[in-house]
């Protein structure tokens, strides 16, 4: 038998610890040289805003080869710039390069003034208005709706309520069937006193939800990640990539209490969406009304939204043109992994292009941008009390 630890002498012990310190020193030097952690660099134009919400259209430098515009609807949890984290990890940039006309909703950071917002306000209000702006801007009767995570649930609900406005529905890692016990969040939510939570906070802090996400893999996310980080700190670019992801993870908007209350009770607890019992405002949501083509993407190793929560949608919709797509990876990998860049965005683009009536638009890009701004302006003039001016810009927070 070999003698264990024979090579682990004082010298190597000191060396190992010394290496940690050296890496930290170099990393700290790299950190002092970083002025800003830039995210969401793809150029975009603000076309509409209402309360905290902003609707952007990305600038399309090339030819639009798919005439129906795509509206990306992200979750209320975390921020939409995950789709455009950095140039080489940007699903948005990828979709643009494939000839799509891309819009995105930034839900903003709710304050206590937003605490009474409900699912009805988000879906029949904000989302519905944004879709009308996109329809007018692109002069399309219908749009391609692409919902992500909770934004996918919202998009499916919208598509079921207003099928006449949705040409194609794409959902990514979105929960629909909440009866599963596969995900810890699904199990934990059963014992969450959401009434007390909302009563106490009004706007439930993003940190509260983040704490729950970190608990899903406490050792990997609280220790290993930072220890592994020591190996990339010396390389400024790699370190910046790490910091961008860190920024996104901890950039968590609070949740409007009433909306969260309804989402947890009606969806997580009572699973009303798949039972056909969910009411949004005064309307009942029937997933059978989803008669447009559906591309439903799930991640095989998703620990936040397990496949069991995503896949059932295909059995509940009314359309025959439905595709279930398995992405081999985790929840976050769907957006930023290199595999995602190579595989997923092209697949979405290909699927959309292959649907009926998706050829190029007759107008030029500059004409389309002008129409977009005018459409936003027109809707804003009608709803002047909602928003001061389309040109109003500023920081998101």
């Amino acid at each position: 038998m070999k003698t264990p630890f024979v090579a682990f002498d004082v010298k190597s012990l000191i060396k190992e610890l010394g290496e940690i310190n050296t890496k930290l020193i170099k990393g700290a030097e790299a950190l002092t040289e970083i002025d800003e952690i830039d995210v969401g660099a793809t150029p975009k134009e603000l076309v509409y805003e209402e309360d905290k919400l902003k609707l952007y259209r990305y600038q399309q430098a090339g030819e639009i080869t798919c005439r129906t515009p795509v509206l990306i609807v992200y979750a209320l949890v975390n921020r939409q710039y995950m789709l455009d984290l950095q140039p080489d990890r940007s699903m948005v940039r990828n979709l643009l390069q494939h000839g799509l006309d891309v819009f995105i909703i930034d839900w903003g950071y709710p304050t206590k003034a937003d605490m009474y917002l409900t699912l009805d306000d988000y879906i029949n209000g904000y989302l519905s208005t944004c879709i009308d702006v996109v329809r007018e801007a692109s002069q399309s009767e219908r749009i391609n709706l692409m919902g992500i995570c909770q934004g996918g649930t919202f998009s499916a609900i919208y598509a079921a309520l207003y099928p006449e406005k949705v040409q194609n529905l794409v959902t990514l890692v979105a929960p629909f069937d909440f009866s599963t016990n596969d995900g810890l969040l699904f199990n934990w939510s059963k014992y969450l006193n959401v009434d007390a939570l909302v009563e106490s906070y009004r706007i439930v802090p993003g940190d509260f939800l983040n704490g729950g996400f970190l608990m899903l893999m406490p050792f990997s996310l609280n220790i290993r990640k930072y220890v592994d980080m020591l190996d990339v700190m010396e390389d400024k670019e790699k370190f910046l990539n790490f910091l961008r992801m860190e920024k996104w993870i901890f950039d968590s908007p609070g949740q409007a209490g009433e909306c969260l209350r309804q989402f947890i009770k009606d969806c997580y607890r009572e699973n009303k969406l798949v039972k056909g019992e969910l009411r949004v405002g005064d309307r009942l949501v029937d997933l059978k009304n989803i008669t447009m083509p559906l591309l439903n993407i799930y991640a095989s190793a998703d620990h936040l939204v397990p496949p069991a929560a995503t896949k059932p949608l295909n059995d509940l919709v009314g359309t025959d043109d439905k595709t279930l797509y398995e992405f081999k990876g985790g929840h976050i990998g769907v957006f930023v992994g290199s595999k995602s860049q190579k595989e997923l965005a092209p697949a979405i683009s290909k699927w959309l292009h292959a649907r009926p009536g998706q050829g190029p638009r007759p107008t030029t890009n500059s004409e389309q941008q002008t129409v977009a701004a005018e459409a936003g302006q027109a809707i804003l003039q009608e709803a002047s009390s909602r928003k001061p001016a389309v040109s109003k810009r500023g920081t998101s927070r």
Binding site: M1, K2, P4, F5, V6, A7, F8, D9, V10, L13, I14, E16, L17, G18, I20, N21, L24, G27, A28, L31, T32, K112, A113, M115, Y116, L117, G125, L184, N187, W188, K190, Y191, L192, N193, A196, L197, E199, S200, R202, G211, M215, L216, M217, P218, F219, S220, N222, I223, R224, K225, Y226, V227, M229, L230, L243, E246, E382, A383, S385, R386
Partner: protein, 353 residues
């Protein structure tokens, strides 16, 4: 970059401290390897953690000393990053007695208990799950301040509670050492505190306009004690799971050594520890019992929060400021008005497309 000179002066100081730490570290390492000491019970600036701790503390301070707001932002980012490394070094310290035992060929799960320092492991788990052992004590102190405002008799009233909190916190390491019976100490100390404070109050019915306030205070203290107990139960579950996982790590390690495998680097131990611990906690988190306990803990915490908010409102009522409930009303009105406007606009669009 502003204040560059100050910054690098401070940086230099940090480097000096670092090298000082290295010298000390080398001495300690030699002592350890020649069997003259084990790092049990070492504090934050002791043992192998010394150079790391002194370096991180000095470095972070050097960033603050320059007074530049940009430095503060860097400090914030860096301290978060260093936090992960700090846990790594804490584990490193725990690893040392194991290594010593392995050298003496006496490594097994039973002998590990003789070497391991549960308090140190508790620190590690606290770090991973963000537990703050002083949080309940802090809350009690805040509660005491509220009470002081109300009754002017805080000293006598809150002392037993502060004592109870301190005792409860002292009990925690015993849980970690695997003495579940010590859990009862928590209840006893809380009961004693209750008996010597509220117990007395209950014999003297409060009268006049302060009655409501006093009743709410009593409820708040009651909520706080429920929270403290639930929190202890929760943390106990976490520590026990962690210690069980650690035993499994040691057993796996002992097995590997027995079969002739060499484990030369700490990183191998680290990987094994992360892997086994993650699995152990995942299994725990999946149970209904844990989900229920977590729900109860949150509920208890929210009860405390909500009663303290009510208390605060009572105390602020006479001041010329808008209270939370008043702002809630205002927000509600604003929300309803916006909805009405939107509805009217939609109707207008239908009439006048």
């Amino acid at each position: 970059m502003e204040n560059t000179r100050d910054y690098f002066d401070a940086w230099l100081k940090a480097q000096e401290k670092l090298f000082g730490g290295f010298v000390e570290n080398t001495k300690r390492a030699q002592q350890l390897f020649f069997g003259q000491a084990t790092p049990q019970g070492a504090g934050e600036a002791s043992g192998f953690q010394n150079p790391f701790s002194s370096w991180t503390a000095a470095f972070l301070n050097s960033l603050v000393e320059t007074g530049d707001s940009h430095r503060h932002a860097i400090k914030h980012g860096l301290s978060k990053l260093l936090g992960g490394s700090n846990a790594y070094v804490k584990l490193y310290e725990m690893w040392l007695p194991l290594m010593k035992a392995a050298q003496e060929k006496s490594l097994n799960t039973d002998s590990y208990k003789d070497f391991a320092d549960p308090a140190k492991y508790k620190d590690l788990i606290d770090h991973i799950f963000g537990f703050d052992p002083d949080a309940v004590k802090l809350m009690l102190n805040q509660a005491a301040q509220v009470l002081e405002l109300s009754t002017g008799s805080a000293q006598r009233f809150t002392k037993p509670w502060a004592e109870a909190a301190r005792e409860s916190m002292n009990v925690l390491p015993q849980f970690a050492e695997g003495h579940p019976e010590s859990f009862m100490k928590m209840f006893h100390s809380m009961f004693n505190a209750f008996d010597s404070t509220f117990g007395r109050v209950f014999h003297v019915p409060p009268v006049g306009k302060d009655r409501e306030k006093i009743e709410l205070l009593l409820r708040s203290f009651d909520d706080l004690s429920v929270y403290a107990v639930k929190n202890t139960e929760y943390q106990h579950t976490m520590y026990v799971t962690g210690l069980t996982a650690m035993e499994k790590v040691v057993a796996t390690l002992a097995e590997k050594i027995k079969s002739g495998e060499e484990i030369k680097q700490f990183d191998e131990f680290f990987d094994l520890w992360i892997d086994v611990s993650e699995r152990a906690y995942f299994a725990l988190f999946q149970t209904e019992a844990f989900a229920k306990l977590q729900g109860e803990l949150l509920d208890a915490a929210l009860n405390v929060r909500s009663h303290f908010f009510k208390l605060m409102e009572m105390h602020l009522y006479d001041l010329p400021i808008a209270l939370r409930s008043e702002m809630d009303d205002l927000y509600k009105t604003l929300y309803e008005l916006k909805k009405k406007v939107r509805k009217l606009e939609a109707q207008l669009r239908e009439v006048n497309p």
